[in-house]
């Protein structure tokens, strides 16, 4: 199949990195513009590797949303007005009390996130 265009050779790492850039571009504060969507489609047509890497990067970014599980205030009745006013997500406690070291480390980081 000829696409009528010649692209410079790209290593798989380059493609992977560009795929991540697309995911982030589409997750900027404003929705993607039509021009972005057209450019993405052109990019994805370059090879099956491009499409596969886009799917992979997208899946990673969605999987990483498991981290939202760490944002859990356990008892809504124990709101401290001061900290609540400063940042409504401050008072954090967690549902996962498992002994998983990595989760615990990140929990400690999250508690200190906004100070």
């Amino acid at each position: 199949m000829t696409t009528g265009r010649v692209y410079p050779f790209q290593s798989d790492d380059d493609i992977r990195s560009e795929a991540r850039d697309w995911v982030l571009k589409f997750n900027a504060d404003t929705p993607p513009a039509d021009a972005d969507i057209m450019a993405l489609r052109e990019w994805a047509k370059r090879s099956p590797t491009h499409r596969a890497e886009l799917a992979r990067a997208t899946a990673f970014w969605c999987d990483a949303d498991v981290l939202t599980a760490l944002a859990v205030p356990t008892d809504a009745n124990r709101t401290r007005p001061g900290s609540f006013a400063r940042f409504s997500g401050l008072q954090l406690t967690f549902n996962y009390i498992g002994a998983l070291a990595a989760i615990l480390i990140i929990k400690v980081v999250i508690i200190n996130l906004f100070w």
């Binding site: 992977r16 990195s17 991540r20 850039d21 697309w22 995911v23 982030l24 571009k25 589409f26 997750n27 900027a28 504060d29 929705p31 993607p32 969507i37 993405l40 489609r41 994805a44 499409r51 886009l54 799917a55 990067a57 997208t58 899946a59 990673f60 970014w61 969605c62 999987d63 990483a64 949303d65 498991v66 981290l67 939202t68 599980a69 760490l70 944002a71 859990v72 205030p73 809504a76 009745n77 709101t79 609540f84 940042f87 409504s88 997500g89 008072q91 996962y96 498992g98 998983l100 990595a102 989760i103 480390i105 990140i106 980081v109 999250i110 996130l113 906004f114």
Partner: protein, 197 residues
């Protein structure tokens, strides 16, 4: 006492206990949801609270809810986290042959919880390897779904600095998770070989 008469006493009408709990705890429920969605707007909070009530109400119509207040809050958490996750845009949805990721786009259910737990562990381990500033920005983005602008304002840095941290965090965590998955696959294959030998 037969089971039937017990049910008659407790089930005054379908949805009764949930409705009572909702009326009593509405403001606490709204605060709870606001804190989960912290960068969300009031209408997001109202949407989540209403959906949580409807789900809990529907649930009570088909079974008895013993602790309606805690059931309501748990449902609200579930709905709120789904709400945060739904905000993530999938570039694959914008391709002309889109729809292939329809399965990915489906909402998380309770059945997925064991797998989510494993994913959470591996993603936390990945985040732990990030340099502190990068990690902070990455978590604000992925744990709270804060916008780039909100993060920039909170940390008093430019939006492009925030973007750079997120991009770096994405690259490193992606590589880390990929490696761990390859390792896990290799471990399974070795175990299989040993079993067969």
């Amino acid at each position: 006492m037969t089971e039937e008469s017990g049910n008659k006493q407790q089930r005054k009408s379908p949805g009764f206990a949930v409705t009572q709990a909702y009326k009593t705890h509405l403001s606490a429920l709204k605060r709870f949801v606001l804190r989960l969605l912290n960068s969300g707007h009031q209408h997001d909070v109202d949407d989540v609270v209403q959906e949580a009530f409807l789900r809990a109400y529907a649930a009570e119509c088909s079974k008895e809810i013993e602790q309606p207040k805690s059931y309501l809050f748990r449902t609200a958490k579930h709905v709120a986290l789904n709400h945060l996750r739904e905000k993530t845009r999938r570039p694959t949805d914008y391709l002309e042959d889109g729809g292939s990721s329809a399965i990915l786009a489906s909402e998380w259910t309770l059945e997925d919880e064991a797998m989510a737990r494993q994913k959470l562990e591996i993603h936390c381990a990945a985040v732990a390897t990030l340099p502190p500033k990068c990690r902070r920005v990455y978590l604000m983005r992925k744990v709270y779904g804060m916008s780039l602008k909100e993060i920039a304002e909170m940390l008093d840095v430019t939006v492009s600095t925030v973007e750079a941290h997120i991009s770096k965090g994405f690259a490193r965590c992606d590589a880390y998770v990929q490696e761990r998955m390859v390792d896990a696959g290799e471990g399974r294959r070795q175990a299989d070989r040993k079993r067969r030998a």
